[in-house]
Point group: none
Chain length 201, copies 2
Amino acid sequence: MRLLIADDHGLVRDALSSHIERQAPGAVVVGAASVDEAVVALRQDKAIDLLILDLRMPGMNGLDGLQRVRTEFPLLKVALMSGLARPDEIRGAFTRGAVGFLPKTLSATELLSAIQTMLAGERFIPADVNTADTADGASFTRREREVLDYLLQGRSNKEIARSLELEEVTVKLHVRGICRKLGAKNRTQAVMRAVEMGIAS
Amino acid sequence: MRLLIADDHGLVRDALSSHIERQAPGAVVVGAASVDEAVVALRQDKAIDLLILDLRMPGMNGLDGLQRVRTEFPLLKVALMSGLARPDEIRGAFTRGAVGFLPKTLSATELLSAIQTMLAGERFIPADVNTADTADGASFTRREREVLDYLLQGRSNKEIARSLELEEVTVKLHVRGICRKLGAKNRTQAVMRAVEMGIAS
DNA sequence: GGTTGCTCTATCCAAAAGGATAGACCAATA
DNA sequence: TATTGGTCTATCCTTTTGGATAGAGCAACC
């Protein structure tokens, strides 16, 4: 079993590899501090079974880093790891071919069994991550959903109106509807609620 | 040697303790997921030699958590640990009596020697902490960081002013500073940038 | 037919946010 | 000593946002 852990925190990297190598005899863990380093390591070492990619690190740029790795090494198993991830990121990781998502709240023993699961060819999705769409909570109308997309980019009512070919008043109407449904006092709070609830697409 | 590691990421906690216990025979490492849990553990276990506190975790609230621990356990050695190391926070940690600052970019062996150093009664200050000012993207001042925390809750300038006992104008000043540093046009865009960059914790 | 929900627009108004400029204090530093 | 950076405040001003109220078109449904 050969693992490559890509995380810009040397401490996390070393501690993880040390732990895994102790708990799983025969395991070899290699480290990388960026996506670039990971790619170099993968080119040199064709025997790597699983790559664990930190979501927030140099070269990741959202899920671009995952995309890059998947494009160059389409057969490689890749798992994402993150302390704080938005549900849309988790969904995006799986649609881009990741075999697992590892929140850092996982215990070390859970991590080991997750690695076993993924090496066995299964996907690992922890129970507490919310990958669900908007089934729960607020239900938006078509327009509200569109406006919310722009809100999540921090656009002003005027900009949204121009983009959707509406009057500014109408945009305000939908913004108010969104805030009401999310229990938010203003657009900024609405955006944060949306992120927390994983509505952010 | 008894260590208490307070970090809300179970993975980091377990991996670190596993590593330390292997490298330093006789060491006992206890974990806590929040400042509250750490305080409870410290009350029960009077033999703890060193507390390692993650800077970004529930109950920390800047350096308040450190202050709390120092007030209740003035003789305890406390080291801070953090992924992003900003000079003002590091200085603040030392003025509040911390015996060391551990950036997560440290290697695991460096960590072990840092622990030895601190247990021997010396302070541990990594070499690169003063130069690593604007390493990755935005570096906020103390006030900006406080204001950003409220921005991330969708609070208005007036509310923030009341909470921080400032005038509204001053809050606006800091909000503008935050937006400038994040390249955001307004507060909503600023919070989204912060979320995307993983500054929101 | 009538009702309901989504849509769009309009006209008000008040509050909040954003921006510019300027003065002042203090601590650290060159 | 002079300077710089962070902090706080003030006075202007414009733009944006939020909120209320009201009217109208349209499609789905009972």
